[in-house]
Amino acid sequence: MNKLFRAMIPIVFAAATSLTAAETVVIVSQRNPVRRMLPLQAAQFFLGQSALLTAIDQAENSPIRADFYLKAADMDAGQIKAIWAKLVFTGKARPPKQYASSAEVKRAVAADPKAIGYIEKSDVDDTVKVILTLH
């Protein structure tokens, strides 16, 4: 029994670690009818490819922003900036508005049925709806 316990310790520990590690989730307003979305679909709104939903971005230096673009679009900050340079300087689109924290993103998304944002899973409450968890 004791041996079994010892064997389980690392497994339990690993599980606990993965639970506490920050997970990024994509959110919309509770009033938005969308229920689920694929990572590439979510990325479209943040890369100027679709304006059907209004993207709400995190601060430029934030770790969650880097995590979101890496997992949703497989791109780093420089690549995202180059894409926006294309769109801005042809006059075709403007980058998403940025908010300083997950709390502000959540508030902006909750207030606008057309908004889409991303926050840490631990910051989710019932003012917003999770449509995608990024791994």
């Binding site: 059907l52 900036k81 180059a82 300087f89 006059g91 075709k92 980058p95």
Partner: protein, 421 residues
């Protein structure tokens, strides 16, 4: 960043005319007003942003000059900053969620040996719905894959737009109306841009060292399909190109008329507008760490015209290693015949014959490019690039070459700092 941009602006504006000076002042005021990162400066609906390149380049020959498309001064065997350096400033104002206005000025060395400032964008945009925008004013022409952002070094992997493709047309902007339609379907995104307007500008004529003013009523259509970061795009531009002051062509037409070849003169002249079409298919994107960009494009006359038909293509492949992106590209352009067939009674030798045959023949070249882009800091990229240019007809894209045409391989090395703010 702002300081550096202002310094560059000072440097670039050293030679510009008085209009340019005014533009510079305006630009500096706008710039000073913006103390935040790229395209995020928003005060009551005003957005100010900019892009630029500081670069130096040289070649290994003094027999000809290497230029970008439509440049009056290039580089030979001493390093110069004028080839690649430029500065663009853009301001937008959103009246509300539907109507906005955007202007952009670009300072660079183009058809004049000194820096000049041009108005590259000036339009009012009306958002019809989430998928459709209409614009009225001056817009970039979507002729080829990167045509409407070819001057934004930061937005491109290559240091310069491949001259083999991009020198097929001098037309960069048009005044008129356009629509931009965007439709997302599952993970796909489809775009359509249609434009009708008039393109005006200058074309540098290296053989005589003068510029012509051209005018071209133009229609354009570009269709794109995007999935993830891969974009496939087809485009077609048709223009009726005319120019009153193309001195070399006008001289030939005068000589033809006085020699009795009136019909040939009418075919060669550009004073009456000549229909010309550009068709291109391009692909850009990345797959894991592999970055690709490739394009095929052609220029075809729809009327009898002295402008030769041309075919061009290039293929670039890069491999991303974190912030560092080494790349290789091969490009090629060549003549695809002339819309004019010389009659059997036209002389086969003599001065008039050789100038007519010379005009109807396209330049041709291929090139190999090896370079690296390093995104070493936020909003700044350093590029180093080596080009090996092999001219095969009429000195290729090089200017001021020997009369018989340069056939030597020319090596060009360049380094640039591209930035956005």
């Amino acid at each position: 960043m702002i300081d550096r941009a202002l310094n560059l602006q000072n440097e670039l504006s050293y030679n510009v005319d008085r209009r340019g000076q005014k533009m510079k002042k305006l630009a500096m005021i706008l710039l000073a007003a913006s103390c935040s990162a790229f395209a995020e400066t928003s005060t009551d609906g005003i957005f100010v942003s900019g892009f630029g390149t500081i670069g130096a380049a040289r070649s290994d020959t003094d027999k000809a000059q290497f230029v970008r498309s439509n440049q009056a001064e290039g580089v030979a065997d001493t390093a110069k900053i004028g080839l690649d350096s430029n500065l663009g400033l853009q301001a937008s104002y959103e009246f509300n969620d539907v109507v906005s206005v955007t202007t952009q000025v670009l300072t660079r060395k183009s058809t004049s040996p000194s820096y000049t400032t041009e108005l590259t964008l000036a339009f009012v945009q009306v958002k019809i719905d989430d998928e459709l925008n209409l614009r009225v004013g001056r817009m970039g022409l979507p002729t080829f894959l990167i045509s409407d952002y070819q001057n934004v070094g930061y937005a491109n992997t290559l240091m310069r737009p491949p001259i083999e493709m991009y020198s097929q047309t001098p037309m960069e902007t048009a005044n008129g109306v356009d629509f931009n339609y965007q439709h997302a379907f599952d993970s796909w995104n489809f775009t359509a841009q249609g434009l009708a307007g008039v393109s005006r500008g200058k074309l540098f004529l290296p053989r005589s060292g003068v510029t012509e003013d051209y005018r071209a009523p133009t229609v354009a259509l570009a269709l794109g399909a995007q999935v993830g970061s891969v974009t496939l795009r087809v485009s077609r531009v048709e223009a009726k190109l005319s120019s009153d002051d193309n001195v070399p062509i006008n001289d030939i037409v005068t000589a033809l008329n006085s020699s009795g070849f009136v019909q040939l003169g009418n075919d060669i002249t550009l004073i009456t507008g000549k229909k010309i079409a550009f068709t291109a298919v391009g692909l850009t994107g990345k797959w894991h760490n592999i970055v690709v960009q490739s394009e095929y494009g052609q220029r075809r006359n729809k009327d009898q015209s002295s402008v030769p038909d041309t075919d061009a293509w290039y293929a670039m492949v890069g491999y991303r290693l974190g912030n560092v992106l080494p790349y290789y590209s091969h490009a090629d352009f060549k003549g695809a015949g002339s819309s004019i067939t010389l009659s059997s009674n036209f002389p086969t030798s003599g001065a008039l014959s050789s100038s007519v045959r010379g005009v109807l023949t396209s330049a041709a070249q291929s090139s190999d490019t090896l370079g690296v882009r390093w995104d070493f800091a936020r909003s700044v990229a350093l590029k180093v690039q080596i080009d090996r240019i092999k001219p095969t007809s009429k000195s290729g894209s090089l200017i001021y070459g020997p009369a018989a045409g340069l056939k030597d391989t020319v090596t060009v090395v360049g380094a640039t700092l591209d930035f956005v703010f």
